[in-house]
Amino acid sequence: MSTADASARAERAIEAILADMARAERGVVVDSPPGAGKSTLVVRAAAELAAAGERVMVVGQTNEQVDDLTSRLAAGHAGLAIGRLGAQDYAPPERVARHHNVRAERSLPGLAECQVVLGTAAKWATASETAAWPWAIVDEAYQMRSDLLLRVAGLFEKALFVGDPGQLDPFSVVETERWLGLSWDPMSSAVAVLLNHNPQVPVHTLPVSWRLPASAAPVVSEAFYPFTGFTSATGPQDRALRYNTRAFGTNAVDTALETAAGSGWALYELPARHTLRTDGEAVRACAALAARLLERGAETLSERSVDPLPVTPSRVAVGTAHRDQAAAVRAALAAEHGVTDVVVDTANRLQGREFDVVIMLHPLSGRRDATAFHLEAGRLCVLASRHRHACIVVARAGIPELLDAHPSVEPVHLGVPAKFPDGWEANQAMLAHVSKWRVPAG
């Protein structure tokens, strides 16, 4: 598919969504696979509603994400009066503050003149108005818990819910089965509860990923979005990752980097061993790969620019399952390579973000047994779908054996829909794929 075709398909999808919004009784849900233009849709829908004379509230989940949307909306629509609703300790960052059409306030009265007001769900939940807004746009709606939606839903009459159903589900520190099977289970996602009560609300899917390269879209689509699927907006020739310096001989780290540049994937495989979660060897491998990538002057070619763009540290991420693993990688990067600005974080915190290259410490690496946490499809999906160019998986050998011996007995709760894709199947599919680009650690 050419990029022009992709644009046409995406445009048709967006037009269908906007058309459905125009005749919606209650709202529209849009499933957006990784990098499928979710923010573009949010910004465009907000602007079109505002142009039609409607006031719009935009509900995000984190300040970071709301600031992104605010600056994009402000940059694209200079004539629009935009409000940024923030909490007591919120100070607008430079990318928001520099726009003259954005006004930041701690409460709604000061934003009465604004046509579009953006804020986090937690902040909106403290607003005391009722049904003052004809339209809301709820972003990252699959990561929003339904009890939070309950607190903000009284503010609006209709809503556009946008989110990625393949990422991690919301969670709670409390374990209870008390509400399982209820259509309004407070621990399930906002979208699930909304659709339980409003089955007539149409569900759209954005069809193309602008982020994932041609090397990643098919495998991610098949493993994590089995029922809807999506394609890459770019072809194999549209993107390239290359280095300004040559590799040293047959060093495994360099081989993995070359493999990743050539195919978009690499599996940097350490010898099989059961280890602690903070497996030192794996941690050092993640750090070494990230540092070496920068050291060799990685640069990318893509539809974004005619000239190659350097891969800066902030365009590289190391993703882990656990916080202590992230801390260990961060420490290794700083201590052994003097690198501090590569993004190192857990899958939970990398949700919704985009990088050129992602190095993933495989959640099952070094483990003897898998748990539901480590097998969760959403966790692997986040880690495998943040990159524009390449993803390098760091893992100990032995994961196929672990998966093979995994007992498949999960409790089943009446009235709770089975979750797809199955974590086991998704892990198996991804591993089978990246194993084609296996690089044994030296």
């Binding site: 607190r151 839903a153 008390r178 289970d185 009560h197």
Partner: protein, 493 residues
């Protein structure tokens, strides 16, 4: 589980003796708890068979259902249990407190295990909707018992509540055994590891406890071979005597059945009180009484609700009620985690091991230090702490010390040398109002201190819509709940 607990398990396995993993008791333990051991008929959702109940180890009261499939006898059991439980509860409400105070103490129920909790919940569910007049009328106390049991069962979902406790979970929280968590669910085996009989090792006692002949299960499920070899014959004899209209034989058969069931209950009764004794020997954690006060308030509110003619709890929570309860549970869970670590050095050790806390000695202190960079001088003492623990905290992190929970400690600098770490902290709050710190409010040189990222910050409780304002995303306002006739006459068979 954590590495420290896992290490304690390994230690227990190697030494043949359970290892304490807590320095203090983290649950409230009443002076006279009500021990409740229910048994139910196999294959049924909630068919009571027998129960042993009481607050005096020497005087267990026993209830028996001679025909577990008979509806009337089940309600007789419920009425009998109501007499005991309601009588026990009434003992705590003899004098009413001031309107803004909770009762000074609250009744505490102890069951052997998680199954006991489920039984309590289901028995509450099957009795709370009953009517005391009209068709299928039951004794006045039955629906009242149902509301109480439902209340107690619901409180068990609050992680910090001690109103109704499953003994196995409480013991397993305080001791690590040399067996698996799955095996710890057996009360006799668990106690065998913690407090084996003379001349036996932990594993020997635990193995012996798995033999249902000498250690009957702690319920509510009975041992299948007891069912097949003893109970069925006893029930058969009762049915035969009743069919023959032989009163004397019926009485004999009933005595025999009660005796048979007593053999299944008495060992667990003894174990329960032994466990109470073991727990009582542990000193109580500092925050336990504060959490018990929350329980006392919950109890007090329920008493007042019932006195105002409170309707039975609905079958399931509505959208607003569910979200509201989840918010409370999450808040309590978070607070509990912090309090347990503050109360107990062994719990704090888990955080020290992962670098989320460190303990060390104050090596330098500048208690009078003023920050004069602003318009007004501010008291900002600094202390240096040296520790052998791993420190994950970075400059800028805000830490707290359990000894001074109201004081913030800002990490200024972390330096490492020779396996030791020096952390420079700047203190704020909790030192009085003047520009010189109140005595003892700044740690002195030589003092042992612990600092951690765990904090119990005040949080504004979330605001939820009123039930009648339930939004369209959650199904809109629900119809008002009226206990339905079908609830009251629901079969129990």
């Amino acid at each position: 589980m954590t590495l420290l607990t896992s290490l304690a398990r390994v230690l227990a396995a190697e030494t043949g003796r359970a290892q304490p993993i807590r320095a203090v008791r983290h649950v409230h333990l009443s002076q006279r708890p009500l021990v409740f051991i229910p048994l139910q008929l196999a294959g049924e959702a909630c068919a009571p068979l027998a129960a042993m109940v009481g607050d005096d180890p020497g005087k267990p009261q026993m209830l028996t259902v001679y025909e577990p499939r008979d509806r009337t006898q089940r309600f007789d059991f419920a009425a009998g249990l109501a007499d005991i439980v309601l009588g026990y509860i009434d003992g705590y409400t003899t004098a009413d407190p001031a309107p803004d105070e909770p009762y000074p103490d609250a009744p505490q129920l102890l069951v052997p295990n998680g199954g006991g909790i489920t039984f309590t919940r289901l028995l509450g569910r099957s009795t709370r909707f009953r009517r005391t007049e009209g068709e299928y009328a039951v004794k006045r106390t039955v629906p009242l018992l149902g509301r109480w049991l439902s209340f107690y069962a619901e409180r068990t979902e609050a992680p910090a509540s001690a109103l109704l406790l499953p003994m196995t979970a409480v013991l397993a929280d305080h001791w690590a055994t040399g067996q698996s968590e799955a095996e710890d669910a057996n009360l006799a085996a668990l106690l065998g590891w913690i407090d084996p009989p003379d001349g036996m090792s932990g594993p020997q006692a635990a193995r012996a406890a798995e033999n249902p002949v000498c250690c009957p299960p702690a319920g509510p499920a009975t041992d299948p071979s007891f069912d097949n070899e003893v109970l069925s014959a006893r029930i058969g004899a009762i049915r035969a005597a009743r069919a023959a209209g032989d009163g004397a034989a019926l009485h004999r058969a009933q005595v025999a059945m009660k005796a048979a069931l007593a053999t299944q209950l008495e060992p667990t009764w003894k174990l329960m009180w032994r466990a109470v004794g073991l727990l009582r020997a542990l000193p109580e954690g500092d925050h336990v009484s504060g959490r018990w006060k929350v329980d006392r308030w919950a109890f007090t509110s329920h008493v007042r609700w019932l006195r105002d003619g409170g309707a039975p709890q609905p079958r399931r929570d509505g959208a607003v009620a569910a979200a509201r309860k989840l918010a409370v549970l999450e808040r309590e869970a978070q607070r509990l985690e912090v309090q347990r670590a503050y109360d107990d050095p062994l719990v704090m050790a888990e955080y020290r091991l992962t670098g989320e806390a460190f303990a060390g000695t104050v090596t330098e202190a500048d208690p009078a230090r003023l920050d004069t960079s602003g318009r007004r001088a501010k008291l900002r003492p600094r202390i240096g702490v040296e520790t052998g623990d791993e420190v994950l905290a970075q400059p800028g992190a805000k830490l707290t010390s359990p000894a001074r929970p109201n004081q913030d400690a800002l990490v200024i600098e972390v330096t490492r040398a020779g396996g030791r770490t020096r952390v420079l902290l700047e203190l704020e709050k909790g030192m009085g109002r003047s520009l010189t710190p109140a005595p003892g409010s700044v740690p002195a040189v030589g003092e042992r201190v612990t600092y951690t990222t765990l904090r119990d910050d005040f949080q504004q409780p979330p605001v939820f819509p009123a039930v009648e304002d339930t939004p369209w995303t959650h199904g809109g306002p629900p119809p008002a709940y009226v206990p339905a006739d079908e609830d009251a006459v629901e079969e129990w068979s």
